[in-house]
């Protein structure tokens, strides 16, 4: 029938678009895209050769608030061993974001994804979502949400494993 080839073409187009969308997704085993390309506001530190913990957060997200002191602790513990925490704020409001940051007293780098391009690329389905990236720039793991001590222990375990592999 004439419409079977029509629907085949539509199916092919959808499959093509889906594979294009998957290309460059931020999943385990994929390289972290260059963050300079996403119009992030703020000073992005040098990430090359470092173990990076990239966290997406928002001021209105309660688990994000709970994760900040733990991330600060992890950062303090490992910063001298080449581990860096980068927190990417995805708020619409810069004012709300800065108010949140001033309360948190975080010393690790924070940037603002004003255009929400990076968070879109990361396909974040839960707030907060974070990624642990190895020194080779490849994503080691993806963390969904923040469950307090459980998440902190898991993160520390993964960082320790990465550091142990280097020895």
């Amino acid at each position: 029938m004439w419409y079977s080839s029509f629907f085949k073409r539509i199916g092919f187009t959808v499959a093509l678009l889906a594979s294009a969308a998957m290309l460059g997704s931020m999943e385990k085993g994929e390289p972290l895209p260059h963050l300079d390309a996403f119009g992030l506001v703020g000073d992005l530190p040098e990430l090359e050769g470092k173990i990076v913990y990239l966290d997406f957060w928002a001021s209105w997200c309660a688990p994000c608030k709970a994760s900040f002191p733990d991330m600060q602790e992890v950062y303090e513990k490992y910063k001298d061993r080449g581990v860096i925490v980068v927190a990417v704020g995805v708020d619409d409001s810069e004012k709300a974001m800065n108010r949140f940051l001033s309360r948190m007293n975080a010393t690790f780098p924070t940037v603002w994804d004003r255009e929400q391009k990076l968070v879109d690329r990361a396909k974040v389905d839960v707030m907060p979502t974070s990624f642990l990236i190895g020194r080779d720039g490849v994503i080691v793991s993806r963390h969904r949400g923040w469950l307090g001590d459980r998440s902190k222990k898991k993160l520390i375990g993964e960082i320790e494993a990465l550091l142990k592999d280097e020895v």
Partner: protein, 76 residues
């Protein structure tokens, strides 16, 4: 031009689906700031919440006591 009812039907269905699809919108997890706002909470007004629970409790017997005194007779 040849009149083909099947083509017209399939075209109409596709057009209708496209038109209905326009009304759909997805709020991404990072766009839920407004939904997470305090003003979106149904229990943001404490006095109104107490009064509502009082009405449910004493008039409708539809909810628990929630700290409101009385036995459900409607007299308190």
């Amino acid at each position: 031009m040849k009149f083909e009812p099947k083509k017209i039907l399939v075209g109409a269905v596709l057009l209708g689906t496209c038109l209905m699809g326009v009304g759909c919108s997805t709020v991404e997890p990072w766009q839920k700031g407004n939904l997470a706002d305090y003003t979106m909470r149904s229990d943001r007004d404490e006095l109104a919440s107490v009064m509502t629970s009082h009405i449910h409790f004493s008039r409708e017997a539809a909810a628990g006591g929630e700290g409101v005194g009385g036995g459900g007779c409607g007299c308190n």
